[in-house]
């Protein structure tokens, strides 16, 4: 029997597992959470100067195989991310593992025909109708998770009882994973919306507000950005983040046209992956009165490297502080903390003026 595993990114393993377990007659292997061992494994077998998400996902793949998986899912994006799967398959084969890689994208774009073909290979009785129904629920689940995450990000820095948001979110994800129909999911979502609103917070009107932009994997996987959002929350800062799974899957195609129109004086074309989006967001954050911008990416992320000089220019014109982080497998955590502390000390001083 096929034992299938998927890559990890943020909390999206919950909808991923939900979808796969409902539409495929296969055993689902939950990959172990990302730890230092994951990234060490990934770095050991990765090419020299590949971007960090390659290393994280490769590490997760090896750990999943050790847990018994023999089929692995990989996704893709508008840069070299779309080409990960084939290289990772070869690396795993050379390591002596007998696995199939299920690549959900063709030439960097989501390819539904390919997905159906690949799933039919695993499960002869794969039903498209069923997949569409559960796909719909999964999409809604992602949407609800993202909405609630946005609320959490705005308020988690001001909770009266430390850890109350996280505990509630943990419960919510557990419940979301167990639903069986759209109706049930919707009821759970409404319930948790109320519960989150009940969490006691003390939020001053003039709190510091920071926007986080950057490369999608690093933004969405907390381990790969050294739990940056948590760190900011501990310092009582409101966080705004744009990139999430729902944005990438459904909103981006339309948003990018609007962004390019807005950004005419600066950029004319789409610059690959999320580069133009982040440039447009920089302008938005500057105009919307945020105190500062944090740009994060994994090392060697080419599209974001191209966006950085333009982001810098825009932030300079609006006189908004912006700080750039480039994360790799062996970035020093103390270094990040020191730079962050200096950054919000500076923001507070600017506020005081």
């Amino acid at each position: 029997m096929t034992k299938i595993a998927y890559p990890l990114m943020g909390d999206y393993h919950v909808p991923a597992k939900f979808l796969l377990s409902h539409i495929l007659n296969a055993e689902i292997i939950s990959p172990p959470p990302i730890t230092n061992k994951t990234i060490e494994l990934g770095t050991k077998y990765s090419p020299e100067f590949v971007c960090t998400p390659f290393k994280y996902t490769l590490g997760t793949m090896i750990e999943s195989i050790e847990k018994g998986a023999n089929a692995l899912i990989q996704m893709g994006g508008g840069c070299r991310y779309g080409y990960y799967a084939e290289v990772q398959e070869q690396i795993l084969k050379d390591l002596g593992y007998d696995v199939t890689l299920i690549n959900l994208v063709t030439k960097g774009k989501t390819d539904f025909r390919r997905i159906v073909r690949e799933f039919k290979k695993i499960d002869k009785h794969f039903s498209l109708l069923k997949a569409l129904y559960y796909g719909f629920i999964t999409v809604k689940m992602v949407k609800y998770m993202d909405t609630i995450d946005d609320y959490i990000r705005e308020n988690i820095g001001f909770e009266l009882e430390a850890g109350s948001f996280e505990a509630l979110k943990f419960k919510m994800l557990r419940d979301f994973g167990k639903v069986d129909s759209y109706h049930e999911l919707y009821k759970k979502y409404k319930y948790y919306l109320k519960e989150f609103a009940k969490v006691k917070i003390h939020k001053p009107d003039n709190c510091l507000k920071i926007g986080i932009i950057g490369e999608l994997y690093t933004v969405m996987e907390p381990f790969s950005n050294y739990f940056l959002e948590k760190e900011l929350a501990q310092n009582h800062i409101e966080i705004k983040r744009f990139t999430n799974a729902h944005y990438l899957l459904f909103e981006k195609t339309w948003a990018i046209k609007r962004y390019l129109k807005d950004m005419k004086p600066y950029i004319k074309y789409q610059m690959g992956a999320d580069a133009s989006d982040n440039i447009a967001r920089t302008k938005y954050l500057c105009e919307a009165g945020y105190d500062g911008i944090i740009h994060i990416k994994s090392s060697f992320c080419t599209p974001e490297i191209g966006a950085m000089p333009i982001i810098n220019k825009i932030a300079g014109q609006y006189e908004k502080p912006v700080i750039f982080f480039s994360f790799d497998a062996n970035t020093s955590e103390t270094g990040i903390k020191t730079r962050l502390e200096a950054f919000y000390d500076m923001l507070e001083m600017r506020r005081g003026k």
Binding site: R80, N103, G272, S299
Partner: protein, 300 residues
């Protein structure tokens, strides 16, 4: 009359010949920045981000050199040649980066075949911007394409004839903007020639053939220039003694493509990755031992 500046980097090595013929026909004065030297490199480092690839850093250097010597800089954007032939994201963002970094006006066109933006349309747009009438531009375009085709065919023939040579034959797999750059590939080519090696260039093959051949090694590859390179390896694999992979640090497509190809091919090969601090001494040692290995295999 306005003067157009052409930075000698990236796009120049793919389209420089067409541009030259096009501008010559229309009698537009143009200036091409000199071969990359230390001065240009340093200008590039000043304007670039330290994680940009070496080729892009030098490109910015060329643009910086030209910024006060011309009225327009020519910086196209190349997105794709249909969906399975995309380019590196630096080719997508070069125009916007240059436009935001330098004060000089930028002449620009876009190649995006998926959305019907082709080279012809681009050159016509440029001609119009410089104030020529349509008929004249069409003539210039046809002239430039014809001349370029002739030059290209001649170069391909010379390159393919080298495959019949009796000397040690090495296929140099690299993007032309690295191969022919004075600070990146020149020393390597010089060294190989001194050691009586026949060099076959991966970019001087018929791309219509090599592009398809690449599917034998990699089904999912969608980078146009990498596909051409990979295809050339398959085309020449029985006629060559070794392969040298040359790339600029940290090239996005090469980091994955070269890794995959090196794991799959059974021809002796080395991988050279150069950055702005590399010295030729280290490279020389590796090249020397590689040639020794190849010759040893031949004579035993």
């Amino acid at each position: 009359m306005v003067k157009v500046g052409i930075p000698r980097g990236l796009f120049y090595y793919y389209y420089g010949n067409i541009w030259k013929h096009f501008f010559k026909f229309l009698k537009i004065p143009y200036i091409i920045s000199p071969n990359t030297n230390k001065d240009i490199m340093n200008r590039g480092l000043k304007y670039s981000n330290d994680e940009m690839c070496l080729a892009f850093k030098t490109y910015l250097g060329h643009a910086a050199y030209l910024q006060d010597k011309c009225d327009y800089l020519l910086v196209p954007r190349i997105d794709n040649f249909k969906q399975d032939n995309q380019t590196c994201t630096n080719f997508l963002s070069a125009y916007d980066i240059i436009h935001n970094t330098f004060e000089v006006k930028v002449l620009n066109y876009n190649i995006d075949l998926e959305h019907g933006e082709a080279l012809k349309k681009g050159l016509i747009k440029i001609g119009k911007e410089l104030g020529f009438d349509k008929q004249k531009i069409h003539q210039a375009y046809r002239y430039a394409m014809k001349k370029n085709e002739e030059d290209k065919q001649r170069e391909i023939t010379i390159n393919l004839n080298k495959l019949k040579s009796t000397k040690t034959k090495i296929l140099l797999v690299s993007h032309p903007y690295n191969t022919y750059d004075d600070l990146i590939g020149k020393e390597i080519i010089k060294y190989l020639k001194q050691n009586d090696v026949e060099i076959i260039y991966s970019d001087k093959f018929d791309e219509k053939i090599t592009n398809k051949l690449s599917l034998n090694l990699s089904k999912d590859l969608y980078f146009k220039y990498s596909r051409d390179n990979v295809g050339s390896i398959i085309y020449a694999k029985d006629k060559i003694d070794g392969v040298i992979f040359l790339s600029a640090f940290p090239c996005g497509p090469d980091s994955l493509v070269n890794e995959l190809v090196m794991r799959k091919i059974k021809i002796p090969h080395i991988n050279l990755v150069l950055d702005d601090t590399s010295s030729f001494t280290g490279t020389e040692t590796r090249l020397e031992s590689f040639i020794d290995v190849l010759r040893g295999l031949n004579h035993d």
